[in-house]
């Protein structure tokens, strides 16, 4: 994803107003050049929307619901220059965002590919007074609007209110290019007026103590290479616990499937760092966390598996002949019903005493000083030495397992390699800042290609088994639609076929990963003897 969060954000002709500013005072000055008419003061309300992980913003877009009087519309704009990309009027003064499926096609087509499975959620809300000064030329033709937004309040996600400075916005009228420069000259001579350096969204966020792109599921954590392993592991755990907690509310409300996904990634990463660095963790803590995080992985699995089916449903349909696609609909209804139950079970687990204790103990461990605990053998060694060792071991294991694989190897062997690759990937991501950025990125990219093949193989394997399992459950529940079972069978067989194709393609994927230059790079960066040679 192309990150546009660093684009210049002055996207409008806009000035911050000093307190006490009034258009009444400005109008007589502009009267020398224009016929001015002041409109009555009205109210405005703006709500900015984005996905939890800022997908629109990262693509240089901003989605706003704007209400002025009784008029309300959604507007998708470029963050850099404020240019409108698509709009949709909203009927009435509804507070909720319409679903993508009912949005006009221009807006939907601009948004849907960017946000994919993520939901649009309110980011920040503003409301206040709005007044317009209309500037006309000698032919009584409108050539410019000046819009003043004052007494504005920003509401953050917790409902807290913050005061936003007043702004005056120049709205040129197309085809009348001289007016903006004339008005700018007047405004720049007004005492206390300051050009806006931030977009309205960035300004509102700043006032609430936030900034755009303050959430990413990517592991970006800087660690001092000379820090003790104990401290480094705790820092990573703190980061991952925070990722879990950030995603927890959205996951429990099932706002979209990515909350659960990102939550589970954080859990898996915790399990991974614990097992990879277990010699730096006291044994009793390690045993406890290992068992409890395995439990957490288990209780979140059913909901995720079902989420995947719903996300993939249209793709599954596309694997069927057009006249057979509707036969799969009862399966979707069944999945939806199961999903509801799965999320209910998930809620119970997350609200359980067991979960509460797990988080409390993890927090206590993270905050504990090394002298307060039984010292693990590698706890005081530098993290750099440990990361070298762990990554090299893990890489060697991946190579060993991959070299053994053939197109006739059992699925379990592919799964084992997939798990090893995932562990290696996590290690590379945990410790990426200890190594040269470009080289690590290169290795991660190659590993990712291998993981894509193995991941798809795993999905096909699990899903073909699950399809048969679900068909059995549906039959037990009295859903006896022969056509549905038939198409589910077709899909399961198709998945078996795909598994064979993926096994055959594995060789080429591995060939790329195991090129000499990458082998040498792994050795140069991580192999302890090579480094000391």
């Amino acid at each position: 994803m192309n990150d546009k969060s660093t684009v210049p954000t002055r996207h409008q002709d806009c000035y911050l107003l000093p307190s006490g500013f009034s258009l009444d005072l400005l109008a007589p000055i502009l009267e020398k050049q224009f016929h001015c008419s002041l409109e009555p003061v009205g109210k405005y309300r703006k709500v900015f929307y984005d996905t939890f992980d800022w997908r629109l913003y990262r693509q240089g877009m901003v989605l706003t619901s704007l209400q002025e009087g009784t008029k309300q519309k959604l507007s998708l704009e470029n963050l850099s220059d404020g240019q409108v990309k698509a709009v949709a009027p909203l009927a009435g003064s509804g507070q909720t965002l319409p679903g993508l499926d009912v949005m006009p096609s221009a807006l939907r087509n601009a948004i849907a590919p960017v946000i994919a499975m993520r939901a649009l959620l309110p980011v920040v809300e503003l409301c206040g007074d709005l007044q317009k000064l209309m500037l006309r030329n000698k032919h009584d033709k409108l050539v410019m609007r000046l819009v003043v937004e004052q007494d504005s309040v920003v509401k953050d996600l917790d409902g807290q209110s913050h005061v936003l400075p007043g702004r005056i916005i120049l709205q040129p009228v197309r085809g009348f290019p001289t007016a903006p420069a004339q008005v700018r000259r007047v405004l720049e001579n007004q005492p206390g007026l300051e050009p806006c350096r931030l977009s309205l969204l960035d300004m509102a966020l700043q006032i609430t103590g936030r900034h755009a792109c303050d959430y990413s599921s990517k592991m970006k954590l800087k660690i001092d290479p000379e820090s003790e392993s104990d401290q480094a592991v705790k820092k990573i755990l703190q980061h991952l616990l925070s990722a879990m907690e950030t995603n927890e509310p959205g996951m429990l409300e099932n706002l979209d499937s990515e909350f659960l996904h990102d939550y589970r990634v954080a859990v898996r990463r915790i399990r991974s760092i614990l097992s990879q660095m277990k010699t730096a963790i006291p044994e009793n803590e390690f045993s406890f966390f290992k068992a409890e995080f395995a439990w957490l992985g288990e209780v979140t699995t059913p909901a995720r598996d079902l989420d995947v089916y719903l996300l993939e449903f249209e793709n599954l349909q596309l694997h069927l002949q057009p006249d057979m696609r509707d036969a799969l609909l009862p399966f979707r209804d069944f999945i939806q019903a199961q999903l509801q139950q799965a999320y209910t079970d998930l809620n119970k687990a997350i609200h359980s005493v067991r979960y509460k204790k797990l988080k409390q103990r993890l927090t206590k461990f993270i905050n504990s000083k090394i002298r307060q605990q039984v010292v693990a053998p590698d706890a005081k060694k530098t993290i750099h030495s440990q990361s070298d060792k762990r990554i090299w071991r893990c890489y060697s294991r991946v190579v060993r397992e991959a070299e053994r694989l053939t197109p006739v190897s059992p699925a379990d062997d592919y799964h084992e390699l997939r798990k090893s690759c995932k562990k290696l990937r996590y290690l590379l991501e945990f410790f990426q800042y200890l190594y040269p950025e470009k080289e690590i990125a290169q290795l991660i990219q190659q590993l990712k290609l291998l993981q894509d093949n193995l991941g798809e193989f795993q999905d096909m394997d699990v899903q073909s088994i699950a399809l048969r399992h679900y068909a059995k459950m549906m039959a037990e529940q009295g859903i006896n639609n022969a056509d549905t079972f038939m198409v589910m069978g077709i899909l399961a067989n198709g998945m078996e076929q795909k598994k064979i194709e993926l096994k055959n393609a594995f060789g080429k994927c591995y060939e790329k990963f195991s090129r000499k230059k990458y082998q040498q790079l792994f050795a140069r960066l991580f192999k302890p003897k090579a480094k000391h040679a």
Binding site: K71, Q72, K73, S75, K85, A106, H139, L142, P172, G175
Partner: protein
Amino acid sequence: MKILASYNIKGGVGKTAAAVNMAYLAAQQGWRTLVWDLDPQGAASFYFRIKPKVKSGVKGLIKNNHALSDIIKGTDFEDLDLIPADFSYRNMDLMLDEKKNPAGHLRKLLKPLAADYDYVFLDCPPSISLVSESVFNAADVLLVPVIPTVLSVRTLEQLLKFQGKHDLGDVRVMAFFSMVDRRKNLHKTIVDNPPFNDNLFIKTEIPYASDIEQMGIHRAPLPSYTANSRSAQAYSAMWDEVSTAIK
């Protein structure tokens, strides 16, 4: 971007009023709307207080392929822009005739604006010519105002015949009764028993009313200064009906 052309072979039937008022209503809803005043008389430009003058005239547009985006003017209303008329548009036929694909040329000119506007209203000159043919090819909808009189209905028949004879793409004809005076027996009879098939005429009718004529005095769309008048309400109902039908 949907393109709606307000068109009739006959003049003085309410084409410009329909284009201007419906464009205004679309913009008021928040849609990015453009009116192209194709009529050299420049009535729509007059209503929007914009000088009916285009740099380099029709020659620049058709012969020299100047971009429409360079000649767009904002009206006094938010989200509503205009491509002004120009007296040289009277020669548009001749210019189009020199093009390789005259019938497809207006569509080609409008295409680059697709990302900027949700609705484009073409206010067409009264005639049936190469310009009309190019309009038919560009438009998604032909809005045809018909006064409930024999001669006006006859022009609609001529248009339908023309459409039958020529390949005019997927343009949808939506006729509506305009300048209806129900005190007149003939008007009442024709409106109550619309000619042609059932779906050709939309339900809303535009009354004969002096407030529509006064648009020329106010130089503004009717609903902008008398939103609750019967005529303004009629345009509003018509826009609801048309926009729902073409959604």
